[in-house]
């Protein structure tokens, strides 16, 4: 039997925890969704792709928002940057959230640029006291502007700064404690980072405050043997599913979302992938989860090398014009 350390009081799992099982809304699937209105529990949008849009993507979003719960997920808040926060951007986020009745707004624990530039990447921060204070201050400012809680996600990272004085998970935990904010726990990012930084993903998950997680992210990645890249271009690998199951066995109850951003297949393929979560959730109480250990992650013995196709982390989504 699995040993439940922190969740003995937890309710038995329901697939409808939170919003249930959702998928990332992508333009490639617009036609399918509008035609079939699939039985997806909810959709997550990339905020920046809609906040200025007055064309078809926004029109489609408005229709979808009438039928499904919407969550907004951003990539440009740059909460960790030392540039001033973009208040105009935050106001637009707030407006879109209001117009789509978004359940919550999320972004990443990262920075995207300084000196008024945007690299459009989720860049890592040094995990130390200075950064912690800086990010906590900015979270409070953002929440004041948004007038709602900000949910932050753990990103995949590829470097470790010498300046870091604490682990990623310790930083995330302290950030949560200091600000009372909620977490978007990306288990694929935990896995990718564990490979890239030689740590035990279970140790990371064990440090996450159970009651602060409102959402899971699942995605595919590319395993290059020496390191993994968070490419969102394929199915979720077994090791990530095991971490997902382990998270539930720890007692985390949260809405679950699958991201698929490159080499995007038919909608049903994406939907079926997230529906696999049901099996893992069902089994979470029947079997002991065996998430990969640090040794297995480091040695590659539990890994399927080159599962994805791309080398670009977190691929950006550009909306192409429809021309007659």
């Amino acid at each position: 039997m699995f040993y439940f350390e922190e969740d003995s009081e937890a309710e038995p799992y329901s697939a409808q925890a939170g919003l249930g099982l959702g998928v990332g809304l992508r333009t490639a699937h617009f036609a399918h969704i509008l035609t079939h209105w699939p039985s997806v529990d909810w959709f997550e949008i990339i905020s920046e792709n809609f906040m200025d849009c007055q064309g078809r993507p926004r029109y489609v979003l408005d229709q979808i928002a009438e039928r499904y719960p919407i969550v907004m997920h951003g990539v440009s808040m740059s909460i960790g940057s030392t540039d001033p926060l973009n208040i105009e951007y935050l106001k637009k986020l707030k407006r879109l959230a209001s117009e789509t009745n978004a359940q919550w707004i999320s972004d990443h624990v990262c920075w995207t640029g300084v000196a008024a530039k945007n690299t459009h990447d989720l860049l890592p921060i040094p995990y130390n006291e200075e950064t912690l204070l800086h990010v906590c201050d900015r979270i409070r400012t953002v929440q004041d502007v948004l007038e709602r809680p900000l949910v932050l996600e753990n990103p995949s990272t590829y470097v470790t700064f010498r300046d870091s004085t604490m682990s990623k998970w310790e930083f995330i935990r302290l950030l949560t404690v200091e600000t009372g904010r909620q977490l978007l726990l990306d288990v694929n990012n935990v896995y990718v980072s564990s490979v890239n930084h030689d740590f035990d993903p279970k140790q990371y998950l064990d440090s996450i405050p159970i009651d602060r997680v409102v959402q899971f992210h699942l995605a595919g990645h590319t395993d290059l043997g020496t390191h993994c890249i968070d490419t969102h271009d394929g199915k979720v690998v077994d090791n990530v599913w095991e971490l997902f199951r382990y998270s539930h066995q720890r007692g985390i109850r949260a809405s679950t979302l699958l991201e698929w951003d490159a080499s995007i297949p038919e909608f049903d393929v994406v939907h079926n992938e997230v529906l696999k979560a049901k099996d893992y959730l069902r089994s979470a109480y029947e079997f002991k989860a065996t998430p990969p250990t640090r040794q297995q992650v480091s040695s590659g013995s539990h890994r399927h090398v080159r599962t994805g196709h791309s080398d670009i982390p977190q691929p950006a989504l550009f909306t192409t014009a429809e021309v007659e």
């Binding site: 849009c53 945007n118 390191h227 950006a316 550009f318 007659e324």
Partner: protein, 293 residues
């Protein structure tokens, strides 16, 4: 003596400079006694410090070039991916993104290319003429595809009334010349040196084009959006000129006078055409209202 850790600001400025540098993370321009890759980044078991930061530096241009290729697919079809990447790579160095949205990434591409055509010859040699013809066609495509993006995502007329053909009939004849028309917010007027729209639409429809460049002939286009889909309308030069004047806010009499003067037409010649144009503009929903100042 204890060394002081660089501030968060310094770390971010350093990392951004490293990953955005066009020569890669080893560029001589990045040499700094204190802020070196090895001093800033720890190695992992499998990768050196440099290999680790190269994940970001390799991704920076790759990601943005992919977005540029998505927006300018016809230009990619014309140039091939390698040459397109070369132009776009230069552009991204001159105009790094300063926006939270990738929708703005290509906004200066046409201006950048226009400013950088100096290397082309301006003599009458066949090679020079061909180079300029090719470059002009590329500029047309870039302008057109950027316009498509802006019209597709910008404000439209899907939820507003537009001016119908009968709307002006209620205006007293003596006042018709004073009418000013408000263009649809999605309407753009483009005067190109080629029939680039044929090429761009062929690429979007089939992904392939013939090896031949389209004819280089002055082409007047109205780009607009109907039911959220971008539409390209070819118009004659006199119609285009009148639309341009009306678009700029001129009243009907003044706009017609400009066209008559510029194209050496008689007012009678033009009057016959204007009535037909109005009917078509109403069908294409080019104007949303009129006013009489």
């Amino acid at each position: 003596m204890e060394t002081k850790n660089p501030s968060l600001r310094s770390v971010q400025q350093w990392m951004q400079a490293v990953i955005m540098h066009p020569d890669g993370v080893n560029s001589d321009e990045l040499v700094n006694d204190e802020l070196t890759i090895d001093n800033m980044i720890l190695p992992s078991r499998q990768l050196t410090s440099q290999q680790r930061i190269e994940v970001y530096s390799n991704a920076y241009y790759a990601r943005l070039l992919e977005c540029m290729r998505d927006e300018f697919s016809a230009v990619v079809a014309l140039l091939g991916e390698e040459i397109f990447n070369s132009f776009a790579f230069g552009y991204l160095q001159s105009y790094p993104s300063a926006s939270y949205t990738l929708a703005d990434l290509g906004s200066q591409f046409h201006g950048f290319l226009t400013d950088n055509r100096d290397s082309l010859g301006d003599d009458d040699s066949a090679e020079s003429v061909e180079d300029n013809r090719w470059f002009d066609f590329m500029l047309d495509l870039v302008l057109l595809e950027r316009t498509y993006s802006e019209v597709f995502s910008g404000p439209g007329i899907e939820n507003i009334e537009t001016l119908d053909a009968d709307a002006l009939s209620a205006v007293a004849p003596a006042l018709v010349g004073d009418i000013c028309l408000t263009p649809a917010p999605c309407m753009r007027l483009l005067c190109l040196k080629s029939r680039a729209h044929e090429y761009a639409i062929a690429v979007r429809k089939s992904g392939t084009t013939s090896a031949e460049l389209p004819r280089m002939v002055e082409t007047c286009l109205v780009v607009t959006r109907i039911n959220y889909v971008v539409r390209t309308i070819v118009v004659e030069p006199d119609e285009f000129l009148l639309l341009q004047k009306l678009f700029e806010g001129a009243c009907l009499d003044s706009a017609i006078a400009s066209v008559v003067e510029k194209l050496l037409l008689s007012e009678e010649q033009l009057a016959g055409k204007v009535a037909d144009w109005f009917k078509r503009w109403a069908m294409d929903r080019l104007f949303v209202r009129f006013s009489i100042p």
